[in-house]
């Protein structure tokens, strides 16, 4: 049985003034996949994430999600917080943690959209309120344990080593209970050991939590070993898609990365 894709992007186009950052991009992701989005610098990968998560309103195109067992929904025009609520969580290329909050608090922020306490509740602090707060702490701690950051619980986010900060971004995104996790260059700046740990972590998130993953990455070794399918974009256009093996031997991809041959 062929299930429907959980994310379907059709003809996504994004113009910044006269610059076309994304040009009729089509993309589909199925439940349980790890999909990589690669391309040279400035190809429009992060712009794609920003459109998807509602930070930029796309000029044209359709973005549709179909979470398993839930109604399908258009993402166009949704504000970032509603996109997150709908089940897409992301990390950022340049780490954007809440520096002056503790590790646990960072993750607790992720629980925000799944909880409901308001101002009146915060002041009255009745029983259900206290219960919810305790639950937030508990759930957040559980996420930290899964990601392997439990040892840093009360540490300020800014005091964490670089690799741990990257993982905390993932933990924070996980706390929002996404069905699709968008990772923007999660291995950037990591050493080989940290990259290997990240590789394992991403596979574990997919296998144990059942979260589908779309990642942007420049580390080709990681991309090739990790992903089930790869999309390649250049100048906002999709130039190739397929399994890692197909991509490795695709002449268009080689051209985009290494430039055209002189005699061509």
């Amino acid at each position: 049985m062929v299930s429907e894709p959980i994310l379907q992007v059709t003809d996504l186009t994004m113009d910044f003034g006269g610059l076309r950052a994304l040009d009729h991009l089509n993309l589909e992701i199925n439940q349980g996949e790890i999909v990589a989005l690669i391309g040279p610098n400035g190809a429009g990968k992060t712009t794609f994430f920003n459109c998807l998560t509602g930070i930029y309103p796309p000029t044209k195109g359709e973005m549709l999600i179909r979470p398993v067992d839930k109604k399908s929904r258009r993402l166009n025009g949704l504000k970032p917080n509603y996109v997150t609520e709908a089940g897409l969580a992301r990390t950022f290329q340049n780490i954007r943690l809440f520096q002056n909050m503790t590790v646990l608090e960072n993750v607790m922020i992720g629980r925000h959209c799944r909880t409901s306490a308001g101002i009146v509740g915060a002041i009255a602090k009745n029983r259900s309120q206290r219960k919810e707060e305790a639950r937030i702490v508990e759930d957040s701690y559980a996420v930290l344990e899964k990601i392997g950051l439990a040892g840093f619980v009360n540490e300020f986010a800014k005091n964490l080593p670089y690799g741990a900060q990257r993982r905390l971004e993932i933990a924070r995104a996980m706390a929002t209970e996404p069905f699709l996790l968008l990772l923007d260059e999660p291995a950037a700046g990591m050493n080989p050991l940290e990259t290997r740990e990240l590789d394992e972590l991403i596979v574990r998130i997919r296998d144990q939590e059942g979260i589908t993953i779309l990642l942007i990455e420049h580390d080709m070794k990681l991309v090739m070993s990790l992903s089930d399918r790869i999309y390649v974009v250049d100048y906002g256009k999709k130039i190739a898609q397929g399994t890692p093996d197909e991509i490795r031997n695709n002449p268009a991809v080689i051209k985009a990365y290494l430039g055209e041959e002189a005699d061509a």
């Binding site: 970032p80 969580a89 809440f98 608090e105 922020i109 959209c113 915060a122 707060e133 701690y141 300020f156």
Partner: protein, 414 residues
């Protein structure tokens, strides 16, 4: 060789100062007798004074730097006195009891004048705590905060003048109007941040003041509104003294209520969202926090307290006019928050007490009062840039290795 180096530097400073102040401090032309007076003894005074001050300054800077180094090396065993005070019951319980007794006995120990000053300081405690939500927690620089204060004060004055409504009826109305105005200001500035936001709020504050000043039919213009009744107590007639003492206790109660609410807000889901908004707006939204609602709620909550404090202010002075609500007031309240320690409840209280009481008690310095006040502010910011009492973050304790019995235990939050 700390001492030798420092003495040398301080010596150079004093030479430099003697040279700089030579023309104004030493030479004086006596135009009556047409002679030049040389007042060398003054030069010695300047030299000795600047040497002394410079040395002291260097000494404290040095101490601060070594303190920071030690803190960075993790030798945090020598926790600062205020943290220790907050952590160990055998310290803070007697301290708390002492403070409570002092606060309760204050109006009977001191004169009416002192009590009045204290009431003013308490008004600033409330407005400071309100602004602390906006500036300290949510990180939105608001320079027009006094506008909400004015809204509160005028709502009491006008509602009393036209409809004869009493203090207790208007107190919630004033707070409510503050809230509404907070949301009204919040909407247009939702997209703004930092400097831009500061300028827009500054404009808003001036708009409110100018309306009050020029719309004579509505607000009686610059002549203001007089004869505003003081807060009543079941219609009992009170002398000025009794009324002041009553107002004092009322303010203590309102301050405690404010502290209670602000503390709870700070430690709640909403409070966390505010702090996250301050830290990173984009990430905050991407984590599912509604930016619009969070910002508006911060503005509204801050404005509510200002509105309430405004009502009390009108009741205390019994006369208000637009001159009480200038930009200067906004700046003082902002100073209270920054000087006290952004985001820290205890810090804001200390800040308010220092900033309001200090100028009063500096009256012995007569015309040098504001000079000394300025010097104190500068020194404070140099030596404690995080405020008098910087925010102590809430830490969560986990009992056992699993998160199952995780309890959120507030160890200390300043």
């Amino acid at each position: 060789m700390f001492v030798y180096e420092e003495i040398k530097k301080s010596f150079l400073v004093s030479i430099w100062f003697m040279f700089l102040t030579f023309p104004i401090m030493v030479i004086r032309v006596n135009t009556v007798e047409n002679i030049v007076e040389w007042r060398w003894e003054r030069m010695i005074l300047v030299g000795a004074g600047s040497f002394f001050l410079s040395f002291i300054w260097r000494y404290f800077i040095k101490r601060k730097e070594t303190g920071q180094k030690e803190a960075e090396q993790g030798e945090a065993d020598a926790v600062s006195w205020n943290r220790r005070l907050a952590r160990e019951p055998r310290f803070y319980i007697p301290a708390l009891v002492g403070v409570c007794l002092f606060v309760a006995a204050f109006p009977f120990m001191f004169s009416l004048y002192q009590t009045n000053i204290m009431i003013t300081a308490l008004i600033y405690v409330i407005t400071g705590l309100g602004l602390n939500i906006v500036v300290g927690l949510a990180g939105l620089l608001d320079l027009g905060y006094v506008a909400f204060y004015a809204v509160g004060a005028y709502s009491y004055a006008l509602l009393n003048y036209h409809f004869g409504l009493g203090f207790w009826v208007v107190l919630p109305i004033g707070a409510g109007l503050g809230l509404i105005f907070g949301i009204l200001l919040g909407f247009p500035v939702l997209r703004l941040r930092g400097d831009y936001l500061a300028i827009v709020t500054l404009g808003f504050g001036e708009i409110i003041r100018l309306i009050l000043e020029n719309w004579n039919e509505f607000s009686f213009g610059p002549s203001g509104i007089a004869n505003i009744p003081r807060p009543g107590l079941f219609g009992i007639e009170m002398s000025l003294q009794e009324a002041t003492i009553y107002l004092y206790y009322l303010m203590i109660f309102l301050s405690l209520a404010t502290i209670f609410v602000v503390r709870r807000l700070q430690d709640s889901r909403i409070g966390r969202a505010w702090i996250a908004l301050r830290e990173d707006e984009v990430a905050c939204q991407a984590m599912g926090i509604d930016k619009t609602r969070t910002k508006l709620s911060a503005f509204a909550m801050g404005a509510t307290w200002a509105g309430m404090a405004g009502v009390v202010f009108a009741a205390k002075t019994t006369f208000i006019n637009p001159a009480s609500f200038t930009l200067w007031e906004s700046i003082i309240i902002l100073c209270v928050v920054v000087l006290g320690g952004m985001g820290s409840v205890l810090g804001v209280i200390c800040g308010a007490l220092i900033l309001i009481l200090l100028p009063e008690y500096l009256r012995v310095f007569s015309e040098y009062r504001l000079l000394v006040f300025g010097a104190v502010l500068v020194t404070m910011m140099v030596f404690r840039p995080g405020g008098i009492i910087s925010q102590v973050r809430r830490t969560y304790q986990f009992k056992g290795n699993t998160g199952k019995q995780a309890t959120s235990d507030v160890v200390s939050s300043g």
